[in-house]
Amino acid sequence: MKILIVDDSKAMRMIVSRTLKQTDIGNFTVIEAGSGVEALEKLESESPDLILSDWNMPEMKGIELLQKVREAGNNIRFGFITSESSAETRKQATEAGAAFLVTKPFTADSIQAALEPILS
């Protein structure tokens, strides 16, 4: 399984990648994108199975990335890992077709709990 991690913070991409390795989700490889534009390019070139995206990013927010992915007819599994935690954010994420939203700070357990239903 290929997982595309999208975050403008290199530090956060590292942490998400490291935390994924602490879960029991099995074999996967990580691809990284530092922006929504780069994520769309990687989606095309790498065909990942899952996207884990930040919400607040310059130029293209995570929610816009999800909307563009869905507009293109791509139903890839998509989740947010973000410091955003308001009800409005969760509502927007759900309406746009996200499978889950995990709030920072997260743990391996919280990432695994979010991923299990969509990977089983």
Binding site: T19, S83, S86, F100
Partner: protein, 162 residues
């Protein structure tokens, strides 16, 4: 503040909610961030904020909308390096300056996002702005510091009226 999957029955933003951001809430956010996510040893009991110098690093986010606030985090370069070392899981000598600033920016980003969640109204969270400290600091702000492995990390919170 526990992470959560999307709650399909999430309530609408509560326009009448004026939940205050307290020292205890900030302490909880900081504790969760450093303990759960970075596995760093932080004491969430507030300590006296240290004197800030021109070399102190600062990371800032703003929440704007139905409620408005500025959140800042201050740390010495050494402490920011320690945080970055934990985030990147590499030795301090291998870190670029940009990565040290990135790490401190992510700290304030997480705290700012948690604050926005407490506000739970129509608000936007800015991207982090990181660099050396800009004086003067906001007046009448809540300023609290915590011991992180022998050095103080300072969090400033100031809610602003529209």
């Amino acid at each position: 503040m526990q992470p959560f999957a999307i709650d399909q029955t999430a309530s609408e933003p509560n326009e009448n909610d004026t939940t205050p951001v307290t020292v205890d809430l900030i302490a909880q956010m900081v504790d969760n961030l450093f303990t759960a996510m970075l596995e760093l040893d932080i004491d969430s009991s507030p300590v006296e904020p240290p004197q800030l110098s021109d070399e102190t690093l600062s990371a800032t986010v703003q929440v704007s909308g139905d409620r408005n606030a500025i959140i800042q985090v201050f740390a010495s370069h050494d402490l920011a390096t320690k945080i970055a070392t934990a985030m990147f899981a590499i030795e301090a000598e291998e870190l670029a300056e940009e990565e040290i600033l990135d790490a401190l920016g992510e700290v304030v980003n997480v705290i700012g996002g948690n604050v926005k969640g407490i506000f739970d109204q129509e608000c936007a969270l800015s991207l982090p702005c990181v660099g050396v400290i800009q004086q003067p600091l906001p007046e009448d702000a809540m300023t609290v510091a915590f011991d992180l492995g022998g050095e103080a990390i300072t969090v400033l919170f100031k809610e602003r009226t529209k």
